[in-house]
């Protein structure tokens, strides 16, 4: 190789390196400006993808600058969204089903986690409740309009009972345990981490029934009815969640540590609930079926004052998910 060719090669190499360095360094210049969004995140391990996304900076590379508003329960998250305090919220499918009955102006963008054992039935041993049939005439603490109430009603129905056959006491989710410990009720239907907390606090005075698989609970990302910009924001949030979910699958221990630190939980609790969780982004027919069955059930069991069945499809917006992972969307358009 003569000198001329050597010089040419060196020059080409230097130019290529220069282009790559300036691309990396000035990448932010041609990136679109970031949208500031507030997400009302329910303080439960079900929100793990959000905490992990924030911890690993998964939102940094997207078009949103995320701020969390931590709330207790999906219903509170929902009301923050409806009141405009938050742009997005995380709620269970039960909340979505109940709120669709009220025909609120919201949409669901994605489902990011499922658990088949999140809501549990806890009873005082002294009440001698061995099966759902024994609940008849008992005082039961639930959180109205949530998975808690829905789960109790299906449990009762399995034995031919309705909510009218029991004495319902309504509590906020974090107050259920107080009502239980003060013997205001014979049984409570809390979700995690309140079930675990109850078990920790009231070690001997507690009976947790095996209801795994009888209730499937999903957590979903929702917002007010979306315009183009909201869809764009939702897309960016989902992109961050997708990165976080991949991280959870590949680094489960690190992900658990993030949630433990964030929610000040014990590792025992996380080890307890973790096997029940499936972190996965989707928006499919099973969510619609779940919402439909819950809506029909709520009307049939008169859990709601609304009698008209809403069209649950109207509360699903697949535009954002279709942009991120079209393969995970399986609903009739």
């Amino acid at each position: 190789m003569n000198k001329k060719a050597l010089h040419f090669s060196v020059l080409t190499f230097v130019i290529c390196v220069g282009i790559i360095v300036s691309y990396v360094k000035y990448q932010s210049f041609w990136q679109s400006p970031k949208h500031a969004v507030t997400i009302a995140v329910s303080k439960t391990p079900l929100s793990t993808p959000f905490y992990v996304a924030k911890a690993i900076g998964a939102f940094d590379k997207t078009c949103v600058q995320v701020k969390f508003s931590e709330v207790v329960g999906g219903q509170k998250a929902f009301s923050e969204v409806m009141s405009g305090k938050a742009d997005f919220g995380t709620s269970s499918d039960s909340v979505i089903a109940f709120q669709s009955l009220a025909n609120k102006d919201f949409v669901t963008h994605a489902m990011f986690v499922q658990s088949d054992n999140d809501v549990k039935l806890i009873t005082h041993p002294s009440a001698q409740i061995n099966s759902a049939a024994d609940l008849k005439g008992k005082r039961i603490g639930v959180t109205k309009g949530t998975a808690s109430e829905y789960f109790l009603s299906t449990l009762l129905a399995l034995e031919g009972l309705t909510t009218e056959d029991v004495l319902l006491h309504h509590f906020k989710p974090d107050e259920l345990i107080n009502g239980y410990s003060q013997h205001e009720v014979d049984a409570i239907v809390p979700w995690e981490p309140f079930a675990f907390n109850s078990a920790q606090l009231l070690d001997k005075d507690i009976k947790i029934h095996d209801t795994k698989s009888l209730n499937t609970l999903s957590f979903n990302l929702l917002s007010l009815k979306a315009d183009k910009i909201v869809v764009e924001k939702a897309k960016c949030i989902i992109e961050g969640l997708a990165v976080a979910i991949d991280y959870i699958a590949s680094h489960p221990e690190k992900a658990k540590k993030v949630v433990i630190d964030e929610l000040q939980l014990s590792s025992e609790f996380i080890e307890w609930v973790w096997p029940d969780y499936i972190f996965k982004l989707s928006l499919n027919q099973s969510l619609i079926l779940s919402l439909k069955s819950q809506v029909i059930w709520a009307v049939a069991t008169q859990m709601t004052e609304h009698a008209e069945l809403p069209s649950v499809e109207n509360f699903i917006d697949s535009r954002a998910m279709l942009q991120v992972d079209p393969g995970a969307v399986n609903i009739p358009l």
């Binding site: 060719a5 299906t154 129905a157 031919g160 698989s213 499937t216 699958a249 499919n284 079926l289 439909k292």
Partner: protein, 427 residues
């Protein structure tokens, strides 16, 4: 790099082989990837089919009937469980979906066993419908997941093919660039070296024996250059250049020509040169109807002078006569020794009178300038015959002959005279 051309070609060939092997490797790798993705897709399809069978069963059978047998359900369930327990190797994202499917299937089994445990004797119709809907929902969740599995497999196939195509195109493009660069640089080196050798040969041809300095040294050409430079060194020591040789030959030829046309004693033109020039002038006179006059000069009593003073003095005398004649004639006139003591002067564009006048001038000058030998003055005279070209002259010989006759007439009439031969004189 001062390697040989063959080394460069070997290196070049080796690089091509490496590139080809890389391409082959990547094709094999991607075909494996695509094959695996197809296996995953096939697995997803089977799960989908199996779930559909279960859905069909829930729709068509009355699972709450008192005589309902769960055998059919269980056999389908076992098939699905077996399928779910032997998946192909899955990607991390597919593994997440697979975990979801397995979990959903566990839920499905538990829910179904709860429902069929005691046929929901106490349950209302509403809860029966609701739970059936829940069963359908679980199945739908499995089906959706299997569709997602399939979708991931399709994306994997698409991405693998896209990446492979990009890789093949990139490597091919790089190979073509490298091939062009390599072949052009080889061609450039060979052509440049050949040009340098060719130029050196050309310079050799014109007598400049210079060494070759290759701008792109290579072993093959170096050996040629070494041999050439060695040869050139020897040649430059032993060879006279053609131009020098030509110049020497021209000089020698000129001298020889001069010698062959000049009278060695008097240094004027000899008889051969005389006829050459006179012939030319005669032809010109004939062609152009020009005038031409000849003078034939003969030294009077030359033999007596030779006898008295010796031949050397005779020779001196002849030289003196020539010197005088040269002084008196024009530039265009031509003096030559005709033989012995006879001289001829060719006078182009000159008539008889002009000839006589020239002859007179010569005689007068000769009379004035005598030759001194041993303190003795020797006077010499000339008898001059004049003849002018006329229409009767058919050849130069006739004209010379007339001049000769005129000269004899001058001798006969007492020497030191000028006689003109005219046609009248002749007849």
């Amino acid at each position: 790099m001062n390697g040989s051309l063959s080394q460069r070609i070997y290196l070049f060939t080796l690089s091509c082989c490496v590139l080809f092997a890389t391409l082959l490797g990547s094709v094999i790798w991607s075909s494996h990837s695509v094959e695996l993705a197809f296996a995953r897709d096939n697995y997803a399809q089977q799960v989908d089919n199996q779930t559909n069978s279960l859905k069909q069963l829930i729709i068509s059978d009355n699972i709450y009937a008192s005589n309902y047998s769960v055998n059919h359900w269980q056999s389908l369930q076992q098939k699905l469980a077996r399928l779910l327990n032997s998946p192909p190797k899955l990607s991390p994202s597919q593994q997440t979906v697979q975990n979801s499917i397995k979990s959903q299937n566990e839920n499905l089994k538990r829910l179904f066993s709860q429902i069929t445990k005691n046929k929901l004797k106490n349950a209302s119709a509403a809860i029966k419908v609701h739970l059936k809907a829940r069963l359908m929902m679980q199945l739908e969740a499995i089906r959706s997941d299997s569709l997602q599995l399939s979708s991931i497999a399709h994306t994997d196939i698409y991405n693998t093919i896209k990446h492979e195509a990009f890789f093949i195109i990139s490597v091919s493009a790089a190979s073509i660039v490298a091939l062009l660069f390599g072949s052009f640089s080889l061609m450039h080196i060979v052509r440049k070296s050949l040009d340098e050798v060719k130029r050196a040969f050309k310079q050799n041809h014109s007598g400049h024996f210079q060494k070759i300095h290759l701008s792109h040294p290579s072993e093959e050409f170096d050996s040629i250059v070494k041999a050439f430079n060695g040869m050139n060194e020897k040649l430059s020591e032993t060879t006279v250049s053609l131009a020098v040789m030509k110049k020497v030959v021209e000089e020698r030829t000129h001298v020889l020509e001069q010698l062959s046309n000049t009278d060695p004693l008097t240094k004027v033109a000899n008889r051969r040169a005389l006829f050459e020039r006179a012939d030319m002038e005669f032809s010109r006179a004939v062609r152009g109807k020009n005038q031409l006059t000849l003078l034939l000069l003969d030294c009077d009593l030359f033999k007596a002078i030779n006898d008295e003073f010796g031949h050397l003095i005779g020779d001196e005398l002849l030289i003196h006569i020539c010197d005088v004649c040269r002084e008196e004639i024009r530039d265009i006139d031509f003096l030559a020794r005709y033989g012995g003591e006879e001289f001829i002067i060719v006078l182009p564009s000159c008539d008889t009178l002009g000839g006589i006048e020239t002859a007179n001038r010569i005689q007068s000058s000769l009379a004035k300038h005598s030759v001194t030998v041993e303190d003795k003055q020797i006077n010499v005279t000339l008898s001059i015959g004049v003849s002018m070209f006329s229409e009767w002259h058919e050849s130069l010989d006739q004209l010379i002959n007339d001049a000769d006759k005129a000269m004899y007439q001058a001798k006969e009439k007492g020497r030191n005279r000028i006689e003109v031969l005219t046609r009248k004189n002749l007849h």
